[in-house]
């Protein structure tokens, strides 16, 4: 265990932490605790690097993973939101670097980050009307007369 990992386990005591292997730590929290947990990483561990945000359609819910980096240790916060209410709190005020990653979530999976300053399309074409491609139940739009 590196000194960073020791520090992390100290700070995260009491939280549901899962150590997958060396330098890979996962914390699962309910949606409402997201901001609180992100703040802990930012203020108590001085983490400033957000590598990216991954989201996955599990069928019933959408799992959202926030991947942070501290001295080579990847700390991932795992949270869920229901598909019939796919909203999450935006973390842009704590991590401005999340601005594009949250836009991407919105674009391809339909997750709405509440409080995000600018939710225009990021990767899908301006005239896209095909729904959310990364959802498991997504069907490609019908081909027009070509």
């Amino acid at each position: 265990m590196t000194t960073t990992e020791e520090l992390i386990s100290q700070v995260l005591q009491g939280l549901p932490v899962q150590v997958k292997r060396d330098r890979r730590i996962f914390i699962a929290v309910p949606r409402d605790d997201l901001i609180k947990t992100v703040n802990i990483l930012s203020s108590e561990l001085n983490i400033n690097h957000l590598s990216t945000i991954t989201a996955r359609d599990t069928g019933k819910e959408i799992e959202i993973l926030y991947h942070f980096l501290l001295n080579g240790v990847v700390i991932t916060i795992r949270t869920m939101c229901p598909k019939d209410d796919p909203t999450i709190d935006s973390i842009v005020r704590i991590f401005p670097g999340a601005v594009l990653y949250e836009r991407e979530l919105n674009d391809i999976l339909g997750v709405v980050p509440k409080g995000h300053p600018d939710l225009r399309r990021l990767v899908l074409p301006d005239d896209w009307v095909g729904g959310y491609p990364l959802r498991k139940d997504w069907k490609p739009p019908q081909e027009s007369e070509e």
């Binding site: 899908l124 074409p125 491609p133 490609p140």
Partner: protein, 127 residues
């Protein structure tokens, strides 16, 4: 024109301009604007976002004009065939005169394809 490529083909096209191969000696010059070009070289599968722009660039070219596709993706969508962001090969959007296959084709193959096209144009036919 990069229509959505991974850059592999674009880099090999540029590599055909450097002294090692130097296609300029065959009379091929890289131009920045479609209005000054005779040949449009396209790379990449045409993404849905680029489809209209590709059409517009083609329309801006003065006659006579020719289109060369470099790489598998431009020819048929290549490895991205079936991806939701991809429209298809370049010929699903504009007419194509020559295809240079490869992933990516070597600079020599690109030069070879361009020269073959130029030779056909010189002979007076529409390739």
């Amino acid at each position: 024109m990069n229509c959505g490529s991974c850059n592999g083909c674009d880099i090999e096209i540029l590599a055909a301009l450097i002294p090692r191969l130097d296609v300029e000696r065959f009379g091929v010059l890289l131009k920045g604007s479609p209005r000054h070009a005779d040949v449009l070289v396209c790379t990449g599968p045409v993404t849905k976002q680029m489809k209209e722009r590709l059409r517009r660039v083609y329309d801006q070219m003065p006659e006579p004009k020719f289109v060369v596709v470099v790489g598998q993706c431009g020819s048929s969508g290549g490895i991205y065939h079936g991806a939701y962001g991809v429209e298809g090969g370049v010929d699903t959007v504009i007419p194509v005169n020559a295809y240079i296959p490869g992933c990516p084709p070597r600079p020599d193959a690109i030069a070879d394809g361009l020269i073959k096209l130029l030779a056909k144009i010189d002979k007076g036919g529409k390739p």
